[in-house]
């Protein structure tokens, strides 16, 4: 049963045929602990997919599998495959750093580099990855604009990133991820440390970003998932490894899910 249900892919609906990112039978372990079981999901290009589910069901672990951050945890292991444009990112010949350039990530807590200015923060990825990009000024303006921060900081690009408010810092982190021109952006509960006002601003930003790139966002917040995402994937754990219950268009998940557990969860009966 799980095999059939987990392969329900969001592409079943709608028009977007081109698959940006896809997992096939993905598992994850930490040492002996089996954290994630048999996840097969497709993320269509230029859409927002929300990953929802109670804590401990492996949502964060899952998205860290998507840009090869999982392997930094000592004792980590995985199985299955993750395809970017049809190519497995876990092939031995693939350079993990290249994968991470294409699949960017924004973390839970805003974390601009403390020793760097706003401008340096935006350009840090270019420096870290040794990319050769002309017109740094344009990149800074462009990325900050897309992150919805340009107007607020354009006169103080030399200020420290830490001088911004929490919401602004998180948008700076988004701008920082955009500077290396990723095709996919992973967001691990990006608003959980922010106030409602900042959260709304970030959600607007996410919707605008999806015009150009694929966004995958982990969230605890049902309203947020229903506001920003085009598709939703619901994860659950019964004490063992986390697994995918169902994935579908957000509208369907929130109005007429196929699985009763999904219905219970989105109506706030547990979680």
């Amino acid at each position: 049963m799980s095999n059939t249900s987990t392969t329900v892919s969001a592409t079943a609906n709608e028009t977007t045929a081109f698959a940006g990112l896809e997992t096939r039978g993905a598992h994850a372990w930490f040492g002996k602990h089996h954290a994630l079981r048999d996840i097969s999901l497709t993320f269509p290009a230029r859409t927002v997919t929300g990953i929802i589910g109670p804590s401990g069901c492996g949502k964060s672990t899952f998205i860290r599998l998507l840009n090869r951050m999982h392997e930094f945890i000592p004792g980590a292991a995985m199985a299955g495959s993750v395809l970017l444009h049809g190519n497995d990112i876990y092939e031995p010949t693939v350079d993990a750093a290249e994968v991470r350039l294409k699949v960017g990530m924004v973390f839970q807590k805003p974390n601009p580099f403390p020793a760097m200015t706003i401008r340096e923060n935006v350009l840090s990825g270019i420096k870290l990855a040794h990319l050769k990009r002309p017109n740094h000024d344009d990149i800074v303006e462009n990325c900050l604009t897309r992150a919805g921060l340009w107007k607020e900081v354009k006169d103080r690009l030399g200020a420290s990133g830490g001088s911004l408010s929490g919401g602004q810092q998180q948008r700076l982190c988004i701008a920082r991820s955009l500077a290396v021109e990723p095709e996919v952006l992973l967001m691990d509960e990006p608003c959980s440390a922010l106030d409602p006002g900042s959260t709304l601003r970030i959600e607007e930003t996410i919707k605008e970003l999806a015009e150009k790139i694929t966004v995958i966002i982990v969230t605890h917040n049902m309203q947020q998932a229903s506001r920003v995402s085009d598709y939703c994937a619901f994860f659950l754990t019964d004490g063992g490894p986390g697994y995918l219950v169902e994935a579908d268009s957000t509208r369907k998940i929130f109005t007429n899910p196929s699985d009763p557990r999904t219905a219970d969860y989105v109506q706030g009966k547990f979680g």
């Binding site: 049963m1 799980s2 095999n3 039978g25 598992h27 372990w29 089996h34 079981r37 048999d38 090869r68 392997e71 980590a76 292991a77 995985m78 199985a79 299955g80 876990y90 092939e91 031995p92 993990a96 750093a97 990855a129 040794h130 063992g240 490894p241 697994y243």
Partner: protein, 348 residues
């Protein structure tokens, strides 16, 4: 049924370096090491230090060659890996050399008589079968015991002040304890010389112990604070809730729970001062006879024993110094192991 399908899947680590590459890397490293041996054998470069420097240089060349086609990002990363590893090896080399030489040169003198005789009737040039360091070991123990008896209560009080009383002087006390730990040992010796030794007109074990106490206090106080900080707040709250006064809570509840941690504090303090030489040169001097009296006249200690025989400089004298060092180092390490054993106990 889904667990059945899962059970057939084996955990993999596709990111770990493939075996073939690991073997290649290992053989390249081994080849460079071997080549460095050749360089040492057939050129002017000499010694284990010459070998190590050649090896490090070769590793850098190899890394540059292998990353010549990669980008500057990979080249820098590989280069820094070699440089940082080399720096770490260089940083660790002196200690390994010290451990090695102290053991190799010191064990010759490890005989029963070393622990059962003093040097009253033995000259420094006598064979190692004669004479020993019993007087020095006893002197060191005596001084360290007195020093502990002085510092342990004071150190605990200091820790209690910083964690239980938390008075207005908390910051100052912490700062002073820190700064005091940097007082040069010779200055502590001079201080006791100008006060106690001058006043009593006598060098003595007690004077030596006082100087050691000055050096030991910061270590004990700081460790005691660290240990007391680990006591959970609700344990104190429980004490107060039972109507206990603050001092009762401190002495009946807080301190007993960290008893082994405080033992650690004492042990670390002893380990800190057991090898101190300079202050003893000004306060307890040395002696070749076994003595127990804390207030009357110069007394031997392990550090001054080693120092003295090293000064004499003849073959057997230096051998005695090495053996004394081995005993000293062994004591420090035993104390250290004990501290770890006890230190682990309170931590939950």
């Amino acid at each position: 049924m889904s667990s059945e399908t899962a059970a057939t899947v084996e955990p993999q680590t596709p990111w770990s370096t493939p075996r073939a590459i690991r073997i290649r890397t290992t053989s390249v490293v081994a080849l460079s090491a071997a080549f460095a041996v050749v360089v040492v054998l057939f050129t002017g470069v000499a010694g284990i230090d010459g070998w190590a420097i050649t090896f490090m240089g070769l590793s850098i060349v190899v890394v540059l060659a292998r990353t010549s086609r990669a980008g500057s990002k990979e080249r820098k990363d590989a280069l820094m890996r070699v440089i940082i590893t080399s720096a770490a090896v260089t940083a660790f080399a002196p200690w390994l050399s010290i451990f090695g030489s102290v053991i190799l040169k010191g064990y010759l003198g490890i005989r029963p008589n070393f622990f059962s005789q003093d040097m009253r009737t033995t000259t420094p040039d006598d064979f190692l079968e004669f004479g020993g360091a019993l007087h020095a070991i006893v002197g060191s123990l005596l001084m360290v015991l007195i020093a502990s008896a002085i510092t342990l209560p004071l150190g605990i009080l200091s820790g209690v002040y910083l964690t239980e009383v938390r008075g207005r002087l908390t910051f100052l006390v912490r700062f002073v304890v820190q700064s005091m730990s940097g007082v040069p040992s010779i200055v502590a010796g001079l201080f006791i010389y100008t006060t106690w030794v001058t006043a009593t007109e006598s060098f003595s074990a007690f004077a030596g112990a006082l100087a050691l106490a000055v050096l030991m206090l910061p270590t004990v106080a700081r460790t005691a604070e660290e240990v007391l900080k680990l006591v959970p707040e609700d344990l104190r709250a429980a004490g107060y809730a039972l109507g206990a006064r603050q001092w009762r809570t401190a002495f009946m509840v807080v301190i007993p729970t960290v008893r082994s941690g405080l033992t650690t504090a004492a042990i670390l303090g002893v380990a800190r001062v057991i090898g101190e030489t300079a202050p003893l040169l000004l306060t307890s001097l040395s002696n070749s006879a076994l003595r127990f009296h804390p207030f009357d006249g110069p007394i031997a200690s392990l550090p001054t024993y080693v120092f003295g025989y090293l000064q004499i400089g003849t073959e057997y004298a230096i051998a005695r110094a090495w053996t004394g060092s081995l005993v000293l180092l062994a004591i420090v390490f035993v104390l250290f192991t004990l501290a770890r054993r006890f230190g682990g106990k309170d931590k939950r």
